[in-house]
Amino acid sequence: MTATSANPSMVETPGVAWRKQIRFALIGALSSVFIALAGMPVGLDGRSIIQPVLSMGFLSLLWVPFVMATLAGSEVVLEGMTARTRDSRDLLAGGIIGLGSAGGLVLLMVLIQNFNLRDPLVNWSPQLLNLLSFNRSLGVGALLWLLLGLILGVLGAAMHVLPKKLCSRIRTVVLSVLAVSVLETFLTDLLEGFGLEALTDFVYYKRGGLEVGGALLVAALALIIPLLVGTRIKDVKEQVVGLPAEERKRVNLILLAVSAALLLVLPFFLGKIANELLANVGLFVLLALGLNVVVGLAGILDLGYVAFFAVGGYTTAVLTSPNSPGFSPELPWPIALIVVVVITGIVGLFIGAPVIRMRGDYLAIVTLGFGEIIRLLFLSDWLSGWFGGAQGITNIPGVEVGIGTVKGTDPRSVFLLVLVFCAIAIYVSWRLENSRLGRAWMAIREDEDVAEAMGVNTTNTKLMAFVVGAVLASFSGAIFSAKVGSIFPTSFLMLVSIIILVVVIVGGMGNIAGVIVGALVLIGVLGGPKQPGLLQEFSQFKLLIYGALLVWMMLKRPEGLVPNVRRTRELHQEEFLQDAWLKGEIDTDDQEDLQ
């Protein structure tokens, strides 16, 4: 290997780490086998990505060699070293990983043909074998897989060999095609709203997925648009950042107004399905924003957050439904909402008071318990005179507003209502974060004892976080019960708490934008605990994907998709300090400060 660096003191990173490559090949093989046996290839085969070339079932396997090879090829370049020049050996390494991943599948095929393990492994089926061998003989199938694995592995490794710019082009194209295909329901709906059915008919296959022509069109657009736009967006951004504070504020305000207006008219261009979907996303955004106050800002790990959603929902049901078994004042929704907020706030105080005296793991477990207790109370015979037990409360009326009624059968109205409340929740989170209370929450998250010693009444402050979180959840509960029209204890399983937490973590804890992105990605695409997402085919694998995503995020990007600056600093303390040190931001020497 020749030293390319001009500076002789710079050391090149060592060559291909073969051990690591072998490890990734094995991981690839195991992942492929696991995915196959989890039933994803067969279960998702019905949904095309590009008809008839690629189905989601095959995609569930094909990404493995590519991604593994890319991951195995990435190297950390330490300060003072130069990245080595990549060569054919890297491609070879990628190929090995690809072959390894495919090898796992080939082995699985051979085993399926010769043994029957259907008893413990439900997906150990001839159907899987057929699919894996492309409906041909085992030998042909095996060869095809090895070839595919090899090609994809080499391509994956090539992402480090090819010029950066080309790689990012390829990534844009591939991701755009996937995104457009996945977002089909939503996009068709939207385009229909603009009267562009002809376009959707051309791009999409009737039973889901892109047509080949459509895929090519999308790929071409993904190539051309960045070329046309070029650096223009970046330039404009820089210009805005360069403006004086006053004007920047104005520009930001205008942007905010425009996007708010766009959001408000959006529902009118969307059909039922898309509106319904976004309404569900909105309900979870509300919940996630509330949990974000508790977990993200104050650092209290609440695993029973669904309790407040339930209390909000049930209180609304009792107050508005004529079928409420115990007490049925049939209040109009807006008035009921005031009562709901008060009651949920009080419940927040009652649950919070004993809980916040605990810390860490104990607190998490106790909140988990309270979450279940609340659900079991609603389910119990003891209180069924009030809440209807397992029968729940039905016939909950919609929300009467001046111009019409918001009810589940009209998803557009629900979405609009949810939007209003999301705006309120965002405003509340934002204002509180930048206030005396928000600073106290942060201090508690950093070091509770010191916060207390610095005069912060930690008990009250944490209770406040609990109550604010509870109130935001009650909004969601109130809308949920008016939307669905009936309410049952099964809507408030512990799973809901966990999913909200995953949304917050994946999105980016402590960050409002992150939480919204998290809800859009997870609830919108994968679906909520009961609500279907864009990929309805995924519903049986939803939890698997949630879990995998959570583990992945915790390991590789604990700060979430849209990270909060502060949080990132906490989680990457050492790297941050190293960077700051390199940039000379750390004052290592006190001398320089003295004038």
């Binding site: 405003y427 509340v428 204002r431 509180l432 930048n434 206030s435 005396r436 209370l437 928000g438 600073r439 106290a440 942060m442 201090a443 950093e446 070091d447 004892d449 010191v450 916060a451 207390e452 010693a453 610095m454 005069g455 912060v456 009444n457 930690t458 008990t459 406040m464 604010v468 502060r566 600093r569 906490e570 303390q573 941050f576 300090l577 700051a580 931001e585 750390i586 004052d587 290592t588 020497d589 006190d590 400060d593 003295l594 004038q595």
Partner: protein, 266 residues
């Protein structure tokens, strides 16, 4: 101002403090010294409410502090720093001193949500007072530093920020736990001077734990020596430094020589 009578604390079987008598008058600077593990920090923890004494009483300005939470003690006017600097490392320098004014301010959810005039003026006041406190340390903690996280500060500056944070709670009594530990001689001389100014300009009464004898000598009106949780001597520095019991407690090594206890500590 602060009157402590018969104060004892035990951790399991360990008597960290035994029958301690202690008194500070308004405007005094008192140093507490003693070998490692003598119970000095425990003494501070007790005053600030972080540890509950097993016996005895702590009276501050005529009222007992027993049974109060640390935040309530701070509200009464006692602030402290920590021996092992405990800043809010990921909050900015300004936020560190802003949050310390929590118990002196009272805007709640309503003010923040509706951005009332009272809220805005209080925020401004908090910010201004924070900057004022920070500028006590010269240009080190202000300017572009205001918005940097506390974790980027040098060790000496972290100690300064801790003092600033304690000052921001608007105390009358300031408890400093080894304020110059880890500083070089020039920095500690400078901080010694600042401690003097904390009394003369800000009117704080100060109790300080310190191992650096030159600082103790230069700044304190009175020195209290603790060993094994007991007061073994107290009085002016010159008197205490020559007390045979004190010398014995410090392993027979003469106190006040340049070879201070600092160097033998890990």
């Amino acid at each position: 101002m602060l009157q402590i009578t018969d104060l004892s604390v035990t951790f399991g079987g360990l008597h960290a403090l035994k029958n301690l008598q202690f008194k500070v008058d308004e405007g005094e600077i008192v140093s507490v010294i003693g070998p490692n593990g003598a119970g000095k920090t425990t003494f501070f923890n007790m005053i600030s409410g972080m540890v509950t004494p097993t016996a005895g009483d702590i009276v501050f300005e005529g009222e007992s502090l027993l049974g109060l939470d640390p935040s309530q003690v701070t509200e009464r006017g006692i602030a402290r720093t920590f021996q092992n600097v405990r800043l809010f490392a990921n909050m900015t320098i300004l936020e560190n001193v802003m949050v310390a004014q929590h118990c002196r301010t009272d805007q709640r959810v309503f003010g923040a949500l509706f951005q009332t005039r009272a809220f805005k003026s209080e925020e401004d006041a908090i910010r201004n007072y924070g900057e004022e406190v920070l500028s006590f340390f010269g240009s080190r903690l202000v300017g572009y530093r205001l918005d940097q996280p506390a974790s980027v500060l040098s060790y000496a500056n972290r100690r300064r920020l801790e003092i600033a944070r304690a000052m921001a709670t608007r105390p009358r009594l300031l408890l400093l736990d080894e304020p110059v530990a880890g500083m070089n001689p020039r920095e500690s001389a400078e901080l010694t001077e600042l401690i003097g100014r904390l009394r003369s300009e800000w009117g704080f009464t100060i109790v300080m734990i310190e191992h650096d004898m030159s600082v103790v000598r230069d700044v304190s009106d009175r020195v209290v020596v603790l060993d094994h949780g007991e007061t073994i001597a107290q009085g002016p520095y010159s008197h205490v430094a020559n007390d045979p019991k004190v010398i014995e407690a410090y392993l027979g090594r003469p106190v006040g020589s340049e070879q201070t206890d600092e160097e033998v500590r890990p």
